[in-house]
């Protein structure tokens, strides 16, 4: 461990020290302390002296790793801000919550920065372990405990598959270094079949975490039961980290025999997710199935296998992440002591009661559906055109079809917003933190849709 390596790890160290020290902060200040730590890590990731930092054997300190760390740290800060009022009426221990959110951000950052199969496994485990607890965090809510268990059991299975896959890949290639393992597999070593089997198992584990069909079955129940801010972090951050890894460090599309598998995962996710989302009347479950569809689109970016596709994928992740955090943030901000307004019926009359939040919900659902001029449209545009260039015409046609159908299930809750309200308001006005997060998400959705140039250039600068 040299000084350069410690410098390279500085943002991660800040996250770690923050997550331990927040346990000693009083209940009232803990979440604010968590926000400060996450933002400090995000700023330190771009501190100029880091340009001299060297890579450690396990974690890269390149621009992409730092950009991802910034994104996850911002998501963590948003989660803490959104939980401030949400936890007040629930059995939330704020220090433990902030500590686990920071540790989750730590895990996601290690995962997306990993240059080795070892750090890939550890990052994924760190992130998942934090989510096991965060999902069941509300002790007074039995569906939360059920959701935690439903995430735990598939999670264990995915971890076992991942460990076994890593063991096979290591047996075939003799190295843990990600770029070498992929290159050796492409070159076709003597144990090519074993390596392919290993990669297939790793892909299955990743599909579990990213909830690609047919490994998506845990998703709706977990989203429904998890506290809304946690569900937002789970939907945007954990999946984003997994795909950031696939886009930057593990170009699975280079391994030719895996391409059909990826294409099948993408197609199944689009079809299953779309048709399962159609009859939903619960906002969180609908968002869960819609995330399956969106992750199917993200596989298109992985499939392209070239720089432009990866940039399009990162842009799509940003636009999807902003919309998802805002969606779950709205659910958190609209929930009172009696629970979250999950059903469409509970949203009736929202446009009259809280017009700003209704407008934001409308906007983000339209963005998810891909209406111009919002971020979702621009994301789909760059992503699908990159996939067309790569020659996946049938998948793009399927994706266009599924986004056409998606208008139905995204517009159903929107129509309920503007009906005359039958339900009494259970929630107060949004507090400062919620306004900040929701407003920022709204601004990103608009700017990324109307004027995506700066964001695209930033992404092009960090994608390796």
């Amino acid at each position: 461990m040299t000084g350069d390596m410690l410098l390279a790890l500085l943002p991660l160290l800040v996250l770690f020290i923050g997550s331990v020290s927040v346990l000693f902060v009083p209940e009232r200040q803990a979440l604010v302390y968590g926000v400060v730590c996450a933002l400090l890590a995000a700023v330190l990731a771009w501190w100029p002296w880091l340009s001299v930092a060297s890579d450690t054997p396990l974690v890269s300190s390149g621009f992409f790793a730092r950009g991802c760390l910034t994104l996850w740290a911002l998501l963590g800060a948003a989660t803490c801000l959104l939980s401030e009022r949400y936890r007040a009426s629930r059995q939330f221990a704020a220090p433990e919550f902030a500590a686990l959110v920071l540790f989750c951000v730590f895990g996601m950052s290690v995962l997306s920065a990993s240059t080795s199969l070892v750090s890939l496994f550890l990052g994924l485990e760190a992130m998942t372990l934090a989510f096991y607890v965060l999902i069941a965090f509300d002790r007074g809510n039995t569906t939360g405990a059920e959701a935690g268990l439903k995430y735990l059991l598939p999670g264990f299975l995915a971890s076992a598959l991942l460990a076994f896959g890593i063991a096979l890949v290591y047996a075939a290639t003799g190295t843990f270094v990600l770029s070498d393992t992929v290159a050796l597999t492409v070159a076709g070593a003597s144990m090519h079949t074993i390596a392919l089997l290993g990669w297939t198992l790793i892909l299955a584990a990743i599909a579990f975490k990213a909830s690609l069909a047919p490994f998506h079955l845990w998703t709706p129940d977990v989203y429904q039961g998890a506290p809304a801010p946690v569900a937002g972090l789970l939907a945007s951050g954990s999946k984003g980290a997994v795909f950031a890894l696939l886009l930057a460090s593990v170009p699975l599309a280079l391994i030719a025999p895996l391409r059909p598998l990826l294409a099948v995962l993408a197609a199944l996710s689009m079809i299953v997710g779309t048709f399962a989302a159609l009859p939903q009347t619960n906002l969180k479950r609908m968002l869960a199935y819609s995330s399956v569809v969106h992750m199917g689109y993200m596989v298109l970016a992985v499939l392209t296998g070239h720089q432009v596709g990866f940039e399009a994928g990162m842009f799509y992740l940003v636009s999807y992440g902003a919309a998802t955090v805002a969606a779950f943030g709205l659910v958190a901000s609209l929930s009172g002591p009696s629970g979250e307004p999950q059903n469409y019926a509970a949203l009736e009359g929202l446009a009259a009661r809280s017009p700003w939040r209704a407008a934001l919900l409308t906007m983000l659902l339209l963005s998810l559906a891909g209406f111009p001029p919002l971020a979702g449209f621009m994301g789909k545009f760059v992503l699908f055109s990159a996939a067309l260039d790569a020659g996946y015409v049938w998948l793009v046609v399927l994706a266009l079809f599924s986004s056409l159908v998606s208008c139905y299930y995204y517009l159903r809750p929107v129509m309920r917003l503007f009906r005359s309200g039958q339900t009494a308001a259970d929630h107060g006005p949004a507090n400062g933190g919620e306004r900040l997060v929701l407003g920022l998400c709204g601004i990103i959705l608009v700017i990324a849709g109307i004027y995506p140039g700066p964001i695209l250039r930033m992404i092009a600068a960090i994608v390796p």
């Binding site: 450690t56 007040a88 009426s89 433990e96 500590a99 070892v118 485990e125 760190a126 934090a130």
Partner: protein, 171 residues
């Protein structure tokens, strides 16, 4: 000879693991798991990692499995079925698998009594092991320790008994 030993041990590992998963009596399951871990330890030894083999026996088969047994005994003392406990078939599998395991261990010692001529092409000394662990993979060790720490934090939160006055405290 080494090949025969490898496949015998691999078969024992698989058989005991399957038996562990299918037993109704949790104590029997844990005992089969102990056998599986012993067989794995011998496999590690044959692959040239004696330190790992020793840790496998001391930590997993020794400490962790004893903990398992204690927890099972604390929660649900299994009632021995008097009708079957005396039967020969009841004892056949454990005794046979255990005997095979002992025979494999004995064969390993007989082949290489001083553990000097390595059975494997590469022999991992404790020094190599320590260097790999605390130089190249030092960061991994740190991350694992963090994971354990936060597992404890999570278990503490989920297992904690909250006072009914929590709501007033917070609001």
């Amino acid at each position: 000879m080494v090949t025969v030993l490898f496949y015998t041990l691999a078969a024992i590992t698989l058989a005991t693991t399957v038996l562990c998963l299918t037993r109704n009596n949790p104590v029997h399951a844990v005992l089969y798991l102990v056998q599986a871990l012993f067989a794995l330890a011998l496999l590690y030894f044959m692959l040239g990692a004696p330190l790992l083999a020793a840790w496998q026996v001391i930590l997993y088969a020794g400490a962790i499995m004893v903990l398992f047994l204690f927890v099972i005994m604390l929660f649900e003392p299994p009632v021995a079925d008097k009708r079957t406990s005396g039967r020969l078939t009841h004892w056949f599998f454990p005794v046979m698998l255990g005997g095979l395991l002992l025979a494999c261990g004995g064969a390993l010692i007989a082949m290489d009594p001083a553990a000097k001529a390595s059975l494997s092409s590469y022999w991992l000394t404790p020094r190599d092991y320590g260097r790999a662990l605390f130089e190249r993979y030092a960061l991994a060790v740190e991350i694992i320790s963090l994971i354990l720490l936060f597992a404890a934090v999570g278990a503490f939160h989920l297992g904690r008994r909250y006072r009914s006055t929590t709501k007033e405290d917070v609001s």
